[in-house]
Symmetry: C2
Subunit: 515 residues, 2 copies
Amino acid sequence: MNGADHLCDVLLAHGVDVCFANPGTSEMHFVAALDRRPQMRCILGLSEGVVTGAADGYGRMAGKPAATLLHTGPGLANGLANLHNARRARTPIVNVVGDHAAYHLHFDAPLTSDIESFARPVSHWLRRASGPDDVGPTARAACEAAVALPGVATVILPADAAWSAASTPPVEPHPPLGPVAADPGAIRAVAEAVRRAPGRVGMLLGGRAGHGEALAAAGRIARRHGIRLFGEVLIGRMERGRGHPPVTRIPYPIDLALAALADLDVLVLVDAPPPVAFFAYPGKPSRLTPGTCALLTLARPGEDAASALQGLADILGTGPAAGDGPAPAEAGTPGGALSEDAVAVILAQAMPEQAVICDEALTSARRFYALTQGAAPHDYLMNTGGAIGIGIPLACGAAVACPGRKTIALQADGSGLYTLQGLWTQAREALDVVTIVFANRAYAILQGEMRAVGVTRFGRNAERMLTLDEPALDWVALARGFGVEAARASTCEAFRDVLGAALKRPGPFLIEAVL
Amino acid sequence: MNGADHLCDVLLAHGVDVCFANPGTSEMHFVAALDRRPQMRCILGLSEGVVTGAADGYGRMAGKPAATLLHTGPGLANGLANLHNARRARTPIVNVVGDHAAYHLHFDAPLTSDIESFARPVSHWLRRASGPDDVGPTARAACEAAVALPGVATVILPADAAWSAASTPPVEPHPPLGPVAADPGAIRAVAEAVRRAPGRVGMLLGGRAGHGEALAAAGRIARRHGIRLFGEVLIGRMERGRGHPPVTRIPYPIDLALAALADLDVLVLVDAPPPVAFFAYPGKPSRLTPGTCALLTLARPGEDAASALQGLADILGTGPAAGDGPAPAEAGTPGGALSEDAVAVILAQAMPEQAVICDEALTSARRFYALTQGAAPHDYLMNTGGAIGIGIPLACGAAVACPGRKTIALQADGSGLYTLQGLWTQAREALDVVTIVFANRAYAILQGEMRAVGVTRFGRNAERMLTLDEPALDWVALARGFGVEAARASTCEAFRDVLGAALKRPGPFLIEAVL
């Protein structure tokens, strides 16, 4: 048993049985150890952004961590942007980064880098295994930290710690820590505030408060007491559609966000930080709630949001579950040239029960969220950290976590180009993912931001940095190059047909929605 | 004049007139300022690995920095791997990273991250502009540092420093610093050592010693005194072919590297660190030179290698320039099924004068280096830091720096998949790049490393992590998806034909060499 064997066994003993990987030479002994354990499912990503984004999608939907396998500092570096997103989603991940043998580091070989410096900003927890006997304990602590926080626990695995024989017996797994109970005093304070400000209380549901029993309890309390439910600007995971309470997403544009929260006296935070502006803008506030609005925390990240909400319900009493929103069919039957809104309407009408929606459509799917309150029940996941390029990988990981459900990626074209390599993983693993690319051939969100800073006529440099035409990307060719079947639609009728066919067949499919 | 205007003007005043970019909201005022200066050439990359890799290729060939434009921590993160390579190549780059407005940082908005922690491991120099009046001085110091080191100078540009009016006059550029003179004592010591150990002296030429007058001087000294010339395991830039002295590249495989340097008494380092093993292997040394070999530094990075070599020549005397190596035609005319070696032979025979070769073929182009000693004169660039995924971006940057020359990328398929988005930049900018993809459909280098650790039969997990088949990548479809014309060749005859045609036409072309 070398260190790498210990690592694999500890992962498996903690229920971590999926490893998203892109290995290199310093991880060969880890690869060999994984190869001796076929009960671990190893999934290759063609670049590390795919690896870490998939681990995020898996962790959000499975409710337990996947492992990653990244190659030294540069391999980690390529995966940092999606780890940044995972950190913001507070997704449990055991992030394993190989490094040179300890004694080789001071030679400063070409691949040597300061892995801790790269890793720290995205890690809730970080530890370097000091030798083969420390690999098991480090792995166990990482598994426990990833689940308890929850968050990104990074293990740095030196090659000699992996390849050397360990003298210790295999580490006995402890049962993983669950969330700790929220402060009863905080629950009472929230109850008191709700009673004092009827009709002027909002509740922001983040993290684990967006689904399952926590969401249901929040819905019943809200219905009884006239509390408005909000989701974060960027939602990690929310159960939505028929049977789920209506939750208003705080809008991304700063003026709309300020307006949405303008008349609150109290905002109750449930597994969510105080809402702030995504960017600063000259002359606009950074905090989204009015200065007169009290912020009260019911449950912090890592605390048990569901039981805190149940405790609140016990004090305040609850109403019935919310009625369903309007069925998407009421939005009519779009026809003619395809538009962003038409895609949203047609998809809301066509999507199957229990779909997993991975939304990185940015400017393009704005109407989808509102339309789907009365649609088929589904899970809804967004890019949580603003690091673009998570949509396709996120869908990979969600589909691995949820066999038997259809995963649907709503993908802006500019963002999708960051990590389109994930399409190959969908093909290789035969994942049930339908990707809809909103091909507007521009960084449309940035064109809006340029206009917001007062530039209405773009010169050549701005034009060249904010558009994706000349040449236009051919997403059908790109998808096929990665082994994913694909079709293009530029009318509502064609889109409806190809979407229906894609949803009926198993395996991945990509639709280029030409706008 | 706001801070962003100052930044642009200082860059232009220092001759930095190419900006590789992928902007975001926090850089909109910088984009607007660039838009007011059409003399700056802004080139969009579809992901930041393309941006930074292109800046590396540009800097190596232009001998002066390009600027980058990256969006906050995650945008920088995506570009770190190729900045790591640039750091190892000691390429001058002014690396500009936007950030939130200073007053917005403590709200910890979703995109907030510790940019300094990400940037420090890849930066030779790093500074955050403290406000609009500090942007100009920071930019000037960055331009000077990038050139003088040379290396990666990172400027962090808060959005409010960019958008606020600066009260200072435009900064007057100082003439950029050139390399400083090497230590005369070091030159005398090297001369002495060469005289004492005739026939047992090697000279390792890195950085700026691999081309121009430095290389020519090294060649004449070597010819007279029987000195063996070596290039680093990973070569940043070397002039090669007819008329240039023969330089042995230190082999990548550890045993071959040890053998190549085994009988040296002295190794003279010219703008190069001591040669070390790329990875540690159980039971093998980390330092590649024997314990009995003295390491003498003639010129450090940042010192003037050319004048140091001229000083050495003045002491020791020189011989004639080296004779040319065998013409590639002597390697015969390969036929039948295409092989890695056949690609190397055919390319060595076909490549035009003054081609720029960007070699990230890893295991696939081993024979190319040896074959091209007597080929048409060319520049030869490699992945210098071992962070894969630089080949396609490096070719972009080299082609921007060298209009009128043909850039040829030798690209391993696994590495090429990291940053294939760079093909679109080639199409958009009509860059004269021929990319040859060695499609062996595997991480062949890692399969070799697995065998080296004693695993001869791969199980399912190893197989799934070390191969790129199921499904095979279709590089012709991928290239066309990005707007680059492409063709596939699986015989020597077909490859010769398509290569000949590709070299004759302007603009980008990709050849999938099926092996």
